[in-house]
Symmetry: C2
């Protein structure tokens, strides 16, 4: 069984077939959640899973489970999957790769005539992207009991169409209640969506958890004045202050730890007139770190650095924390199983943290969970140019297969 491998050509072919549904002229995919294209993607998946001999069940959130029975019919399954929906100008691999790698594992188990003790399931979660309906990760969120199904059903898109109605319209509001059941382990293969593996020339990322995150909103107030008549030395320019804060947030974060990140994304000035020193600047700060205490320290240092600049320049500063997501730490046994499977395949994995959220975040609330990353070109995703190499796709599926074998007995 140690010699068993997935069929890389078949997986690559399936990825190409799926990418035809909602293909964009620029080579990407637009397969918004619960759209006709999403429906077509689901049907293709279901047809392939049936061909592979799986039992299909669909729950009330439209999550699709394709089950390959184990020798112990009642044993808790080992589950693997991701999502088929994409961003409006999305790529061909974000989510899809995890679903089709899970399907390829089932196909490869069939090819090898392998009987696992536990059932093995491939799963498609509904609306991971959150582009058409917010929030993201709806299917796994309701499944894990974090989101309320009735509120999710009532959520509407820009045209006023609701999740509940659209699920019915595409025929994927299943009879099975969307709620957690005993699961032995959940695995999710995914493209990294960052540049680390590619830059280090590594093939497999052994994901140990998902970063914690805080969102802060800063307001800097100074003294509105005439750009021509106000000498430099008497100015209290909030934009100059905010600019120094942006630089300080960067420096502070780099000095803290190599895996901490900070981003100023929103940034607006008032009055924003070419010949006027501004009165007020508002900006956001997104800080992330894998460790909760370090994340708190990061926030503390960012506040201190900004406060010092504000004080030195005679500005007023308010910074408010508007969101906090604690880090997710994946179960050690699952992380170890992924790492051992990768090593045994001669693909030593790099332990790393996921910077982005995934369905695995909610699954980790209800069962032992882990993730496998493969490189993506230039670290780009959520973009029509998203790309991967076939050999990496194959390698990731092989690691998934052997992790499943370790866990499914």
């Amino acid at each position: 069984m140690a010699e068993l491998r997935t069929n890389g050509d078949r997986l690559w072919q399936s990825l190409a077939e799926m990418a035809k549904l909602g293909a964009t002229p620029a080579g990407g995919n637009k397969r918004l959640a619960l759209s006709d294209e999403d429906k077509a993607g689901r049907e293709l998946f279901v047809s392939w899973a049936r061909e592979a001999g799986c039992e299909i069940s669909i729950d009330s959130m439209g999550n699709i489970f394709a089950r390959r029975p184990g020798t112990q019919a009642e044993a808790e399954p080992v589950m693997s999957g991701s999502h088929l929906d994409t961003q409006p100008t999305g790529g061909r691999f974000d989510g899809v790769y995890g679903v089709l790698a899970a399907l390829e594992v089932l196909r490869s188990l069939n090819d090898g005539d392998v009987q696992t003790a536990r059932p093995v399931e491939a799963v498609v979660w509904t609306n991971e992207e959150g582009s058409r309906f917010q929030p993201a990760m709806m299917g796994s969120g309701v499944f894990a009991g974090v989101l309320d199904q009735d509120r999710v059903y009532a959520t509407v898109d820009q045209d006023g169409k609701s999740v509940g109605d659209e699920l019915e319209r595409i025929g994927y509001k299943g009879a099975l209640p969307a709620q957690a059941r005993p699961i032995h382990a959940y695995l999710e293969a995914h493209i990294e969506q960052g540049p680390v593996l590619e830059e280090e020339g590594r093939t497999i990322g052994v994901v140990t958890g998902i970063q914690g995150m805080k969102w802060l909103k800063a307001t800097v107030r100074g003294m509105n004045a005439h750009a021509g008549t106000t000498p430099m030395e008497v100015r209290r320019d909030p934009l100059l202050g905010a600019a120094r804060m942006v630089d300080a947030i960067d420096r502070t974060t780099r000095a803290l730890r190599p895996d901490a990140v900070a981003t100023v994304g929103e940034f607006s000035v008032g009055p924003g007139s070419i010949n006027v020193i501004n009165q007020e600047v508002r900006f956001s700060i997104d800080i992330r770190c894998p460790d909760e205490p370090v994340l708190e320290e990061q926030k503390k240092r960012v506040l201190a650095a900004c406060g010092e600049i504000s004080g030195d320049m005679g500005l007023e500063l308010d910074i408010e924390e508007i969101w906090h997501v604690p880090p997710t730490v994946f179960h050690g046994n699952i992380v170890d199983a992924v790492e051992e499977a990768a090593s045994a395949l001669g693909l030593p994995g790099k332990r790393m943290i996921s910077g982005a959220g995934h369905d695995a975040k909610y699954l980790a609330e209800i069962c032992p969970t882990g993730m496998i990353f493969i490189p993506c070109k230039d670290g780009i995703s959520h973009n029509e140019t998203e790309d991967i190499l076939q050999e990496h796709a194959t390698a990731g599926a092989d690691v998934l297969l052997h992790t499943v074998l370790r866990l499914a007995g």
Copy 2:
């Protein structure tokens, strides 16, 4: 005649009377160009000037000239004035002070029974502020031949009302063509609109010219990426780059010369999403300096500093010059006359440059011109809280009076 002084109480009272027209609840003035309030202000000025025995003439731009004859009827006049229109939430002194100080000079000449050789005129220029109709300094601009009257007439406000129609409506489209005639000298008293005189405890600014100015527009492009999955060391963040440029523009300008200023007023980011590293940042740069070669050097250094940051960070940078106003240098004889008048009054003046534009800028194109500044509270103007001290108002009017006496013979 060396003992002649203006009547500070009368001037102060006139300022208070004028401030009742278009008074705002917060203590400022809203007397937009060619509005009913502007009309009321003009009529009050004209009535006062007639009481002072002046001949009134109104030109086709609504500029009002109140003339006190000289003993040489045909001699070129010494002219002084400013404007009565205000910003929408403007103050009680910007412009008004220069008009009423000029009127006070005429009244004081009457009080002292002084016969000047040359005629002395007090003038009100139309639409200096440019709030309701753009551009600013319309009346003096047409008068000096810099702006075209037909184009100015066709200019409309936000409600579609034109300058030409509004001039007729308020009864101030005069018969006299708005065009330059021989003028011996033009003087304009004005509040400083900056903090320098107040901070240095000086009463009189002897204005030697108006700063040159360049407006630049910068675009910084980087690499749009995920705020969570992109490690700090591989980012090409255009906002971080632009922030460092804002700081560098400030440092470069401070290092160049104490009287150079630089302001980043407009600043926008794209896509400007809280969890996304931006793709592009656009900002404006307003640089000003009294000397043309130094202004060019300032631009060169700003470009070099921004270019270095952009290069170091792997960003793309475009900077375009969109406007250039060369410095105005006032006529040495007029500047000397103001300085000598101030010294003789025991009010040693500070030679300084005007950071803002004034009607005097256009007058300097057609005749020897100078300005007299008095302090304003905290350097604030274009604001309802704009304020001055009565003793400063009196001192400025006295300097204006004695400069007129020197020039009018």
